[in-house]
């Protein structure tokens, strides 16, 4: 059994290699746009429903909490401002990444892991193709592109849900909440959240694929690898969120 720090750094090394190799394959002709579009459809478009559901209810809960929490200070009319900022800068990207990461990242691991244990990955190589080009690159690119788009959907739905509850709880008009949100949110806030989601998308793709290609030990191995992927992705998103927030606060303010 290797020490934990060796396993950790070896995993980082392998994922760095996969990233570099995928980037190289991305710019090689012919461009594999069909595979990328297919993965955007599977991982991105098919994830919109959970994104909408989660973002909508998160916005509503957040709004409910702030409407009540700010009341003693006479500030409940600012609920819309606080909720929209919280959703766009933090909750939209992080919550979407955690949900989509669990769904799509584990799917990548299960699919590639099954292919690995049934020698389909070896078959790809033996038939003259490159598994990184055919399996890893399209998934990583698809997630890196799709997650920011899903985050935009989450931002809109989260703000709408939050706005609705603000109207009911605080007793303000829809116009008032809308104007408050538009006045509060700057392009920089949107950039802050979307920049994070690009990185989260990459993390979901690379961790899911890396773990899939590491899988051994038959169907039991696939199950273990899939569970591990969900844990790794969640930890990676939460830890990198702190670091990225610090960096983007420095860049965007």
């Amino acid at each position: 059994m290797q020490p934990h720090h060796k396993i950790f750094f070896s995993a980082i090394g392998e994922m760095t290699y996969l990233t570099l190799a995928s980037t190289r394959e991305l710019f090689k002709r012919p461009f594999e746009w069909r595979l990328i579009v297919h993965q955007i459809e599977l991982g991105g478009i098919d994830s919109w429903s959970i994104t909408v559901l989660a973002a909508g209810f998160t916005g509503m809960v957040l709004s409910l909490q702030f409407a009540i929490g700010l009341e003693p200070f006479g500030a409940s009319m600012y609920t819309g401002k606080v909720v929209s900022l919280g959703i766009v800068r933090e909750l939209g990207p992080v919550l979407t990444a955690l949900l989509v990461g669990g769904r799509v990242g584990s799917g990548y691991t299960a699919e590639l892991g099954s292919m690995n244990v049934t020698e389909q990955v070896d078959a790809i190589r033996s038939l003259g193709a490159d598994p990184i080009r055919k399996l890893v690159m399209p998934r990583v690119v698809a997630m890196t592109l799709a997650l920011p788009l899903l985050t935009c959907v989450a931002d809109i739905i989260g703000c709408a849900g939050g706005g609705l509850i603000t109207m009911i709880e605080v007793g303000v008009t829809a116009r008032f909440v809308f104007e408050q949100m538009v006045e509060t949110l700057m392009v920089v806030d949107l950039l802050h959240g979307l920049s994070k989601s690009i990185f989260f998308g990459y993390l979901i793709g690379i961790i899911g694929c890396w773990n899939g290609l590491q899988t051994y030990g038959g169907t039991e191995g696939v199950g273990i690898a899939t569970t591990r992927t969900v844990v790794y992705i969640s930890i990676a998103i939460l830890v990198s969120d702190f670091a990225l927030t610090r960096i983007f606060l420095g860049i965007y303010g």
């Binding site: 292919m115 049934t118 389909q120 070896d122 078959a123 190589r125 033996s126 038939l127």
Partner: protein
């Protein structure tokens, strides 16, 4: 003496602490069917994977068509894999693709021809393996024997010179075993290919083999014709041929 087209020289290979090969040597001649036998876990399939560069030896070299496999660059490896095809143990068909897409996969990767030519080639190879008209089926709709035959069709689609068979008859009923053995023989006759077959099945060995090689104690312990094998004094080989259980501790 037939031309040697593949040669394993002083190969050593280990997985972690487990040493699989120490000084393994083996030559393969053009046009022959060479069968590799040996107990479970001795590294028979590893030999095939080393040959097409899916695994790398720790020491020694493998030469195929006059060039070391390890010295081939990406393009050279692509050329090698167009000349050597492999039928995997479980056929390794791509689950998400139809039979037609599976067979076209190597044709597309090797820029084999126009879409029309590829379509005709799919029909042709499916007829060769006695499975015409199943282009639109998915692998999940096929039985084990059918999967092996489709896998074989995919392997021969790009007209390789060498076909590697990894336990082609394992898990099949006797009728399918005979069918696969018949296909291996007929492909060799019709296409003139060289075949390397890894198997445990001694009926398969004596049906299809020109020469057999036995891996024992991390090296090739015997190479010769089936008739020579029957008269060998190597006890483990004799017991393997008889289907008895040889004792791994017995000395060579």
């Amino acid at each position: 003496m037939a031309e040697t087209i593949i040669s394993f020289k002083n190969i050593a290979k280990a997985f972690g602490d487990q040493q699989i090969f120490e000084d393994l040597n083996l030559d393969v001649h053009r046009g022959e069917t060479l069968t590799i036998i040996g107990g479970s876990g001795v590294g028979k399939s590893v030999c095939l994977k080393l040959l097409i560069g899916l695994l790398q030896p720790d020491a020694g070299s493998i030469h195929a068509f006059g060039q070391a496999v390890s010295e081939r660059d990406r393009r050279g490896m692509l050329r090698l894999r167009s000349r050597i095809a492999m039928l995997f143990q479980g056929a390794a068909l791509f689950d998400s693709m139809t039979v037609e897409e599976n067979i076209k996969y190597p044709l597309v990767e090797h820029n084999w021809g126009t879409p029309g030519e590829m379509d005709r080639r799919v029909v042709e190879v499916l007829e060769m393996v006695d499975m015409p008209g199943i282009q639109k089926l998915k692998p999940a709709e096929l039985s084990g024997g059918m999967k092996k035959r489709v896998g074989l069709a995919r392997s021969i689609a790009i007209k390789p010179e060498v076909i590697l068979y990894d336990e082609p008859t394992t898990g099949l009923d006797p009728i399918n075993v005979r069918r696969i053995n018949g296909l291996i023989l007929s492909l060799q006759e019709r296409l003139g290919v060289t075949s390397i077959v890894v198997t445990h099945d001694m009926d398969t060995v004596f049906t299809i083999t020109d020469r057999l090689a036995m891996i024992y104690q991390k090296r090739v312990a015997f190479v010769g014709t089936p008739d020579e094998a029957k008269t060998q004094e190597l006890k483990y080989l004799r017991e393997f041929i008889k289907g008895g259980k040889g004792t791994l501790n017995e000395d060579l």
